[in-house]
């Protein structure tokens, strides 16, 4: 079976203006040579800390930002080469759910307009059929049908996130890019939304590209996990294998830093020194070397390790 989504050597570089003398052509390598694939019905989680490029990667896959180089194939079609009209058509099959349930819904639109927008754009339904479909979608995500005539401000954060999910589902997509869809929510509301995502996947065979910094959520949801650091994938493996054995020292640090809701489990951490470097001036060699407890001078600061082959791929000279 060929995967639903394949990205090969995907890069997104943003030009930076450094004030008056900004002709130097400096760029931020937000996403740098990333390859990944997502099967139909599968969840690939992208994890990493703020600024590592995970949101940009999600957007580049949908061409909401233009990739600088590399290839994205969706169901065999080269997305990077589509003209705007063809791209719009393809977006019916690739949708997105955003992190902030407050800013991602237009406050002036009714829920009917928000959820039905895609159906109208793609001419999938109109009039009473549109209302019926929107009503069904709202019911499916656990909202009353009469929510239709209200505007976003009348809903709580969790309800708004359901509206965002209904909007994405409206056009019957095959893939939804979820960018931190639960991180603005309280745990009890998060649980409701996670259950909904799992149910919808089982029912509709949806694939998710699930972007998150929350490892508990990722372990719950993901079939496979890719860990990003400074624009690159440093480890990629099936969820069961990455949570059993973190091979990259950064993955190890990330997992050991995450607080565990069990007071009996307070433990020594693998401390990593300092803060992530600026993507404007990435370190030489392995980008993680300045913070890495395993770094070997003369090797890690000179040469960049390549990502090894699946099934448990890692980009480190001294993996566990």
């Amino acid at each position: 079976m060929t995967p639903l989504l394949v990205a090969t050597g995907l890069s997104v570089h943003f030009p930076v203006s450094t004030g008056l003398l900004s002709r130097g052509g400096r760029v931020v390598r937000a996403v740098d040579d990333v390859s990944l694939s997502v099967d139909a019905g599968e969840t690939l989680a992208i994890v990493g800390e703020s600024g590592c490029g995970k949101s940009t990667l999600g957007r580049a896959v949908l061409r909401l930002v233009e990739p600088t180089s590399g290839l994205v194939r969706f169901d065999g079609v080269d997305v990077t080469r589509l003209d705007q009209a063809a791209l719009r058509k393809l977006r019916r099959r690739m949708q997105m759910v955003f992190q902030d349930p407050y800013s991602s819904l237009d406050p002036r639109m009714t829920v009917r307009e928000i959820v039905g927008e895609g159906l109208v754009i793609h001419r999938l339904a109109r009039g009473p059929a549109l209302d019926a479909r929107v009503g069904d979608l709202l019911a499916r995500v656990g909202l009353p049908r009469d929510a239709m005539s209200r505007r976003p401000h009348a809903f709580s954060g969790g309800q708004r996130q359901r509206i965002g999910i209904a909007r994405a589902l409206a056009v019957s997509p095959d893939l939804i890019v979820c960018d931190e869809p639960t991180s603005a929510l309280d745990v009890s509301v998060q649980a409701q939304v996670l259950n909904l995502l799992v149910e919808l996947q089982a029912e509709l065979g949806l694939a998710y590209l699930f972007i998150s910094h929350d490892l508990k959520v990722v372990e719950h949801l993901a079939h496979r996990v890719a860990v990003m650091y400074l624009g690159r994938v440093v480890e990629r493996a099936p969820a069961a294998s990455i949570f059993a054995r973190r091979r990259h020292p950064y993955t190890e640090a990330l997992l050991s830093a995450a607080p565990v809701p069990d007071p009996g489990a307070r433990r020594a951490r693998l401390a990593i020194a300092g803060e992530p470097p600026s993507p404007l001036s990435p370190p030489s060699g392995c980008a993680f070397h300045p913070r890495c407890p395993r770094a070997v001078p003369g090797r890690c600061d000179v040469e960049a390790p390549a990502l090894t082959d699946e099934p448990h791929a890692v980009a480190c000279f001294f993996p566990d």
Binding site: S188, L221, F243, P259
Partner: protein
């Protein structure tokens, strides 16, 4: 025995709301013991921040009113102090740090100037001494190259560094009590781990008590010794951290813990299992249930719960507000 650094009792705060007033917190109390970290947890809007802000007189007086309560810090009642008296206590005896350090730091002054100002507010020292002390505080909160960073402006620092600066400012006068409202919520986990470790270390060396306000149960489990759980403006459970996590007595606390995605699920082949949820939503303060505030959502409810609000009752070393606490 006067190990208690701060003792809050019977705090009720109301807000002007659509012509009337609503009570955002009602009869909230706890004791903060010297050298300990007390976690104040609960979901968005349950009244954690209103509680902590009222301790320092930081509520907006145009809309908020402390209806009753006492907050004893040694001889004084923080809730009875005038603005002038409060400003003397703030920073010197009780200090506070917030979620977003950028909004609490002034963008147009260097961090050294701001820390120096915090010191000179309470101590009679020269500018030069204040600057030297600022540098030593920056190094105490482990900011690299403090002699250089002292002249940096807030926007030149990362979020983690800004939070360190806030901590340095808060600790400038070695307060007895530090109130930390979601101090690491905006930070990445690796930075959060460092900030939490830093706070514990400073706490050990200075012996201060910390009130840690957070919605993150993982953070509470890591650093708190006792926990207060709030729901819809009420304390529903108060307990030592181990006891609470091992066996919550209040149905709401139990529901909250169950809804956390379990660690290790991928190893047991239990990923994507349905998570237990708390049905329904938090009630609006304008239409609180007549009986127990959790009753409409509670799996344990019985007829009495809708009629009569349960009091907070002691069960050994813990307290719970429920007619039918879990065994």
């Amino acid at each position: 025995m006067t190990d208690v650094a701060l003792s809050l009792s019977g705090l009720t705060v109301s807000f002007a709301s659509g012509g009337g007033r609503v009570r955002a917190v009602e009869d909230v109390g706890f004791e903060l013991v010297r050298g300990e970290t007390l976690g104040l947890v609960g979901e968005s809007g349950c009244g954690k921040s209103v509680t902590s802000l009222s301790l320092l007189g930081l509520l907006d007086p145009d809309v908020a009113r402390v209806e009753s309560g006492a907050a004893r810090l040694g001889e004084v009642d923080l809730l009875r102090l005038s603005e002038r008296e409060l400003s003397r206590v703030r920073g010197a005896k009780v200090a506070m740090i917030f979620q977003e350090p950028m909004t609490s730091l002034n963008p147009v002054y260097s961090v050294g100037a701001q820390i120096g100002e915090a010191i000179r507010l309470h101590r009679d020292v020269s500018r030069k001494e204040a600057r030297a002390r600022a540098i030593s505080l920056l190094s105490r909160v482990k900011i690299p190259a403090p002699e250089a960073r002292v002249d940096a402006y807030p926007h030149e620092l990362s979020g983690g560094m800004r939070q360190r600066v806030m901590i340095a400012m808060a600790l400038a006068c070695e307060p007895e009590v530090l109130i930390a409202d979601e101090p690491t919520t905006a930070l990445d986990v690796t930075i959060q781990a460092e900030i939490l470790a830093l706070l514990s270390e400073l706490q050990r060396s200075m012996g201060m008590a910390i009130l840690l306000v957070t919605h993150d149960l993982g953070v509470v489990a890591e650093v708190a010794s006792r926990v207060v759980v709030m729901y819809a403006g009420r304390v529903v459970e108060r307990a030592p951290v181990e006891a609470l996590f091992a066996r919550p007595l209040h149905p709401y606390a139990a529901g909250l813990f169950r809804s956390i995605p379990p660690i290790g699920a991928s190893q047991r082949g239990e990923a994507r299992r349905r998570l237990p949820t708390i049905e329904g939503v938090v009630p609006s303060l304008r239409e609180l249930p007549r009986g127990c505030r959790f009753e409409p959502r509670c799996p344990e409810r019985r007829p009495r719960c809708a009629e009569e609000e349960p009091p907070l009752t002691s069960q050994g070393e813990r307290d719970v507000r429920c007619h039918f606490p879990l065994a």
